[in-house]
Subunit: 468 residues, 2 copies
């Protein structure tokens, strides 16, 4: 090979290198423009906020199995029918059937600082006291371990009051929630085993105010359920103050009912068939049910609306998906996960492959990015591919971090796609979570729209490039 | 030199490398722990939210030169007296003296859709119509250029209505503000030059609601001032709808007064003398004045409180500053910048050197980082030093970006230190800016505290390491 031909080759090689790199750059620019267009449309033209208004105000709080839950299913289907899905269908599931009953009465009957009302909500899936209510002396504890250490003789017939506050030093408030919620989920079961007659839990929030936060409590066929309520943080502090001065005796009346029979309800699913890789599914979803109090705005109206907005925005950019895009509004995330479980079961049975699934269930605040999770066999390799898209998303304040995705999609992990959790700013979420003030007023329209754009951008990249 | 000695040297060199790198690592770990402690204390023990409550509720809206402005000076001094400053003093300045007068009356008197009220606020520094008000036909325009293009004969005796909305596609809402605010600042002056009798400006916000946003308008000794009001975005849309159907005639009554004589008022300054480099000043500040409507919570109560919290938190970690830490609550940022100008003048006259100045005047939302600015002679070199601290701040969601700092500290640039602007999430800021709803309820306690911790962490790093 002559020097000339060598140098010619070298020149060609260089030329190819430049061409490839220029193509890469051009792709990057095209991608950036497309993502910019998605944001523009989200911020200017999306119907998301109107949908959320209707879901939270016209349908309202919508517990699985309630009439409002059924109305939410209809509403979800109706919105889907206005979008360009190839198919929209309902998927059956059987949810626990719990009803709150009358407004809760919880009152300090006797204490060193007198008698006073406590703002309270029965915990979801708990049993009622019956119409006469119950009365008991209160023992304040900070942890399940403290309860474990107490002899049954001391606990018998008492009301256990779990009063460990959120750890305010957690920057991500979900970590504070994770560090306190065992009191609500497992506290009543353990208290029952030790002979307590009822449980009072401090509300799961950083905020000191008068809003009680409901939420699910555990059930166990082998443990007798006892009444359990959450009281507001202000009242928890007041009850604690009373207990520091002497014994306190509390009256609780809840008429909630945990029905024996589960109730038939539905996931709402819309699907756009992929043009080139229909067998690779990209799921976007939130959960359609909410607690009965409030409007279920941040939990999880915004997640449902985000997921619908993804479809709306892909339509607005005239995008024809390569892969199958499936929007799932899951039922019964709050008190049973029946929707998620039914979905996973059907999906594995059909031999499906979710290349990616994204759940939005952390509220509709300013987007910060996505958590990414996946089966250990594939995670590193696929995470790297996604991470390479970061320069396209950083201008919108987004990043990726490793971490759990969402309750409704976690069961898809064994399909070895990637699972994402939409990650908005977390500071205000637990001001509203599971309360009567989780209404549309707590959702900022632009923040909602930016969340939808973030999810759409990610779906678009996933669909365009796939994951190998 | 023998091979042995060479390899011995190499071993030593390696050892030194490792030692230096280990020391670096240890510093990094110590710094991370110190910053973590600052956040912990801010989130658990700071009095900031209580101070903000009092400033916004007890003092309230506090225009420079008003009785409330004077009360704010007293309040600022009082809080400073509870902190460990070496000196607390007032710095004189002379602010424009403007009074709003009676509640504004703005009404569409005749139009194709009838007559209706417009929610309005007079612009700061504008002149009143007098008690009889004025009436005029309205010309709607989208820009100053459109006004420039109109012949004076068409403008004479008319009311000019500037109705260019915010650009919703701007991710940072301050950019949208920057792209619209010329209508408010320069629109009335230009309209006067063209012979208009008054100006109506669409409120400076993304949000479509019924809250008018006031704000300063320009003055020019050579141009006759004319009355100018801002109307709510909802009413701007309604007025625009009327104008699409035919002419509209609007009545405006404002009794605001722009006094000839400026009024004596004060910056409030607290100082901790540095122990090793007292001649290097690190300034933290916000502006103490606010518009008269609302409580001036996000604008700029949070900035004042952040700055006071920096001192509070440095005290809580028992930190003895190397450099002089100066906390400045500037007066009259809103309608004159008299406080900033007086401060700069005194500082240059005294030959001071502000090694760094940090202003918080973008609200009290979740912190995202800092803008950094500085004289071109020193910027690159010093910015790099600050940028190297990023790994310590990223865990708290912070970053640095090049950009303007704050109105009150901009004049310090020629001292060739670095100027920082505290940068919180911007999505909600213009929902409240210059309105009657900028109250404590719009401020989230945790978000405020995290802002204070961010600023304290930066001050601590600046003080510990200095800038070369």
């Amino acid at each position: 090979m002559s020097f000339l031909s060598k140098s010619t080759l070298a020149v060609w090689f260089l030329f190819i290198l430049i061409a490839v790199s220029a193509t890469g750059q051009q792709d990057m620019n095209d991608d950036a423009l497309q993502i910019r267009a998605i944001y523009d449309l989200a911020l200017k033209e999306s119907k998301g906020y109107e949908w959320l208004y209707d879901l939270t105000n016209e349908v309202g709080g919508r517990l699985a199995g309630s009439p409002e839950g059924a109305a939410a299913v209809e509403y979800g289907k109706q919105i889907m029918s206005t979008l360009n899905f190839d198919t929209v269908y309902l998927q059956e599931c059987y949810a626990p059937h719990w009803e709150r009953g009358d407004k809760e009465l919880v009152r300090v009957a006797q204490s060193a600082i007198g008698s006073f009302e406590l703002s309270a909500l029965a915990l979801g899936n708990s049993v009622g006291t019956g119409p006469d209510g119950l009365v008991g002396d209160v023992i304040e504890l900070k942890s399940l371990d403290e309860l474990r250490d107490l002899p049954e003789s001391e606990v018998a017939g008492k009301i256990i009051f779990f009063n460990r506050p959120f750890d305010d030093t957690q920057i991500n408030t979900f970590n504070a929630y994770g560090g306190a919620v065992d009191q609500r989920v497992s506290g009543p079961l353990l208290a029952s085993q030790k002979g307590a007659k009822a449980v009072i839990v401090r509300s799961m929030t950083n905020k000191i105010d008068d809003n009680p936060h409901t939420g699910t409590t555990g059930r166990d066929a082998n443990i007798k359920p006892i009444p359990a309520v959450a009281i507001s943080t202000l009242d928890a502090e007041e009850l604690s103050r009373a207990l520091k001065l002497g014994p306190a005796n509390v009256y609780i009346r809840t008429t909630c009912i945990m029905h024996e029979e589960p109730v038939l309800t539905y996931n709402v699913i819309g699907e756009i068939k992929g043009q080139t890789h229909p067998e690779e599914i990209i799921l976007v979803g939130g959960h359609l049910d909410s607690w009965d109090v409030g409007g279920g705005a941040h939990d999880d109206g915004t997640g449902c609306v985000h997921s619908l907005q993804v479809i709306e925005l892909l339509e607005k950019i005239n995008y024809k998906a390569n892969r199958t895009i499936r929007c799932v509004l899951f039922m019964n995330e709050e008190n049973g996960l029946a929707g998620g479980k039914a979905y996973w079961e059907a999906s594995y049975e059909a031999g499906e492959f979710h290349m990616a699934a994204i759940e939005s269930d952390r509220g509709g605040f300013t987007p910060r990015g996505f958590t990414v999770d996946g089966h250990k066999d594939i995670f590193s390799k696929k995470y790297k591919q996604v991470y390479d898209w970061l320069p396209l998303l950083e201008p919108y304040g987004l990043s990726f971090e490793k971490g759990g995705s969402g309750a409704d999609i976690g069961g898809l992990k064994d399909q070895k796609g990637l699972l994402f959790g939409f990650l908005p700013d977390s500071q205000r979420y637990f001001d509203y979570h599971h309360t009567s003030i989780d209404h549309i007023e707590a959702v900022n329209k632009r923040e909602l729209e930016m969340g939808a754009a973030s999810m759409t951008a990610l779906v678009w990249l996933l669909d365009k490039y796939g994951l190998k």
